[in-house]
């Protein structure tokens, strides 16, 4: 009896949903954004607990800052943006579940978040099936395009390839690869191996530790014994704490064997401790110290909201920028409908803290400037090299002959 009542309720509710769809426009998505009132909901999907929280909480804070600023200046299409924050808990199935909840129950117009590639791969089918948009703010291993994901972090040709070019220009002929054991480091290292082969660089070893692992003494020994010229580090989350503690304990320094990291930004430097990291290199598109008026404004606003001792970092900046890009797309499309927003995306530009960025509508990635930085004793990162201009995104590395065998 109760079952029948519940079933009826479901049928009635889904019928209502269908009606909104019909009234709302063209999309045949199962769940559709609720934009009936004077607010529009967006989802924030980040790990607020677990091994990735060290990084992802800052992204959530940064997204909220952008939303507050947009609301203060009148919202989007006259509607205030209301964030619904969910915790992915550093657990990929949880990410998929929460993405489903945001789209189906909260009926958000777009979702911002995810960090690890594993979490992105877990939510990708959810967004594609429901035809809802995800804005992904973190650099990743490339080799992916999804019609329902906008990638506002760097793809490989905007981060890893320039980092390798930099090492080569510094005369580094052999490297050791250390990473967390999941999709991003494994794919990144495949790309690095292909690059090394084509550029006369030697890869002396490749080691992975489980995500969240804190035992790095053996890996540090192996790295030390290899006598490589440099280490390419794709460890994620707070494994980096254990790795750099062990690295220093093993007597390795930035001078004797520099480490280039692609997942350590200012926030991580602060919690790992700059005494372990001073002099080491990072590859990103943005640093707190990046020059420019837009960045001065962003850093000031972030510190005013979250505390003077809180640094800003690349993924935070990409997350902040992604909200503004979404706003610009919605305003150009004059609609919250994901299909119309997508159609309007090509060529959208925004004066971001990292410098002007432009959306490439075909790949749904953005043009970004590559930057190499050196970690200082004060925990900030000073730029030592940049690409000069924003690089066109090339997620499948079609522009590089050595990358032809990768998939």
């Amino acid at each position: 009896m109760a079952g029948a009542a519940a079933l009826t309720a479901v049928v009635v509710l889904s019928a209502c949903g269908a009606k909104t769809d019909a009234a709302g426009g063209s999309s045949d998505a199962a769940a559709k954004a609720d934009t009936s009132g004077d607010t529009v909901k967006v989802g924030l999907l980040n790990s607020l607990s677990g091994t990735m929280a060290i990084s992802e909480v800052t992204v959530r804070d940064s997204l909220k800052l952008a939303i507050d600023e947009i609301n203060a200046s009148g919202g989007v299409l006259g509607k205030k943006v209301k964030p619904i924050s969910e915790d992915g808990a550093s657990d990929w199935p949880t990410f998929a579940e929460k993405a489903n909840k945001l789209i189906k129950e909260d009926r958000v117009a777009a979702t911002f978040g995810c960090w690890t590639s594993a979490s992105r791969k877990a939510v990708k089918p959810v967004f594609e099936k429901n035809k809802s948009l995800l804005f992904y703010p973190v650099q990743y291993e490339g080799l992916e395009e999804s019609p329902y994901i906008f990638y506002t972090g760097a793809t490989t040709n905007q981060q890893i390839v320039p980092a390798l070019d930099y090492l080569k220009s510094q005369g580094k002929k052999s490297i050791y690869l250390v990473g967390s054991d999941y999709v991003f480091p494994r794919t990144a290292n495949k790309i690095i191996r292909a690059y090394a082969k084509a550029n006369g660089m030697k890869v002396l070893g490749e080691d992975y530790a489980p995500l969240g692992s804190t035992e790095f003494s053996t890996i540090a020994n192996k790295v030390k014994a290899s006598k490589a010229d440099a280490v390419f580090n794709t460890l994620n989350g707070d494994s980096n704490v254990a790795f750099f503690k062990e690295y220093k304990s093993a007597g390795l320094t930035a001078k004797s064997m520099p480490v280039v990291s692609v997942s350590i930004a200012e926030e991580e430097v602060k919690s790992i401790g700059s005494q372990y990291l001073a002099g080491q290199l990072t590859a990103w598109n943005y640093y707190q110290t990046t020059a420019g008026e837009a960045n001065t404004k962003f850093v000031k606003a972030y510190k005013a909201k979250y505390g003077q001792d809180k640094p800003t970092s690349d993924p935070m900046e990409a997350a902040y920028t992604s909200v503004y890009l979404w706003k610009a797309m919605v305003e150009k499309a004059k609609s919250f409908d994901p299909e119309k927003v997508k159609a309007a995306s090509d060529g959208i530009t925004f004066d971001a803290p990292e410098g002007e960025v432009t959306v490439d509508g075909a790949s749904q990635h953005i043009y970004k400037t590559a930057r190499i930085g050196k970690i200082g004793t004060d925990g900030l990162i000073e730029q030592v090299w940049d690409s000069g201009k924003a690089i066109k995104p090339d997620p499948y590395l079609k522009g590089y002959s050595w990358a032809s065998g990768l998939s």
């Binding site: 607020l48 607990s49 677990g50 091994t51 929280a53 060290i54 909480v57 054991d181 080691d207 992975y208 530790a209 489980p210 969240g212 692992s213 804190t214 035992e215 003494s217 053996t218 890996i219 020994n221 192996k222 030390k224 014994a225 707070d238 704490v241 254990a242 503690k245 062990e246 220093k248 304990s249 093993a250 007597g251 919690s271 790992i272 401790g273 005494q275 372990y276």
Partner: protein
């Protein structure tokens, strides 16, 4: 050569960490037969104690030294409280202790999350412990990390202290008596419930000390205990339940085995191989390395 020596030291240092986390458990699980799934959370309590002390004591070295006894008391008190509230009702139902303490472990994790926040935190190691000493110089130097030497020293001290306590003190004799024949101990005038609680206090306190040591190796977080507890149980079971000697030997053997395999393969493969070796060993000796054959426990 230096590679082999360096790697052996690494193995011994991994063994020292294993030994420290398993030592308290050898008392509560090994001697008292309580499957305490919350043991890992007592380790976490010790680690967070270090973190809290470092907030108020600016010198990293001093805060670490103060943390050792304080973490022992904090974790020990938590253990005694757990024993008094729940476990003493379950001594005749060892499997139920597993479920009950698992629930407690989840509650403690959530408590840590509420008090300290979900993101993991770190402590600063004293400068003295971030460096290393050179054992063999030259082109291919052999160095030992100071923090690892400190942990090794701590583990050895803890084993000696626990072993002497069990062997020589009246409390140790009472613990051994209660573990061997509870009823006879009771009629001999030993307050078995008090002995139980004291033993639990000691075992949990040792977990707190292990927590202090772990802050030198990696980050501190609400779930750090769950990652550790399995290793600790493995050491006890393979070593032989109730056998301090077995615990010590197995901790170092597993540490060295892990590091050697890790060096020649990868971290994940080494983990698998170690587990396969353990399973094979337990097929051969289900009772573990050492078993209780005499009336002596230590």
């Amino acid at each position: 050569m230096t590679v082999i020596l360096g790697q052996t030291f690494t193995g011994i240092s991994i063994g020292a960490v294993l030994l420290l986390i398993a030592l308290g458990l050898s008392l509560t699980f090994g001697q008292m037969n309580v499957i305490n799934m919350a043991h890992g959370e007592f380790i976490m309590a010790g680690a967070y104690t270090t973190y809290v002390l470092q907030k108020s004591i600016s010198s990293a070295g001093l805060s670490l030294l103060v943390a050792l006894p304080v973490a022992f008391l904090v974790a020990g008190a938590l253990g005694a409280l757990l024993e008094w509230v729940l476990i003493r009702r379950l001594y005749l139902r060892p499997l139920d202790t597993l479920l009950v303490t698992w629930g407690v472990s989840l509650m403690l994790q959530q408590a840590a999350r509420d008090i300290f926040g979900a993101p993991n935190v770190q402590t600063r190691a004293p400068d003295l412990l971030t460096g290393n000493i050179t054992v063999i110089g030259g082109d291919d130097p052999l160095t030992f990390a100071n923090s690892r030497l400190f942990i090794l020293g701590l583990a050895i001290t803890a084993v000696v202290a626990l072993s002497l306590t069990l062997r020589l003190t009246p409390l140790g004799r009472r613990i051994r008596g209660v573990v061997q024949i509870r009823d006879l101990a009771e009629v001999s005038g030993i307050s078995t419930s008090r002995v139980d609680r004291t033993a639990f206090f000691l075992g949990s306190g040792l977990a707190g000390v292990a927590g202090v040591a772990l802050t030198l190796v990696g980050p501190i977080g609400p779930t750090m205990g769950t990652n550790i507890i399995i290793d600790a149980f493995l050491v006890i079971v393979v070593g032989g339940i109730g056998q301090l000697k077995g615990t010590v030997i197995v901790a170092f053997v597993l540490g060295v085995l892990q590091s050697v395999l890790e060096y020649s393969t990868t971290v994940s493969v080494a983990k698998v191989l170690v587990l396969v070796a353990i399973v094979a060993f337990l097929q051969w000796r289900p009772q573990g390395l050492y078993t209780l054959r005499t009336r002596s426990l230590v």
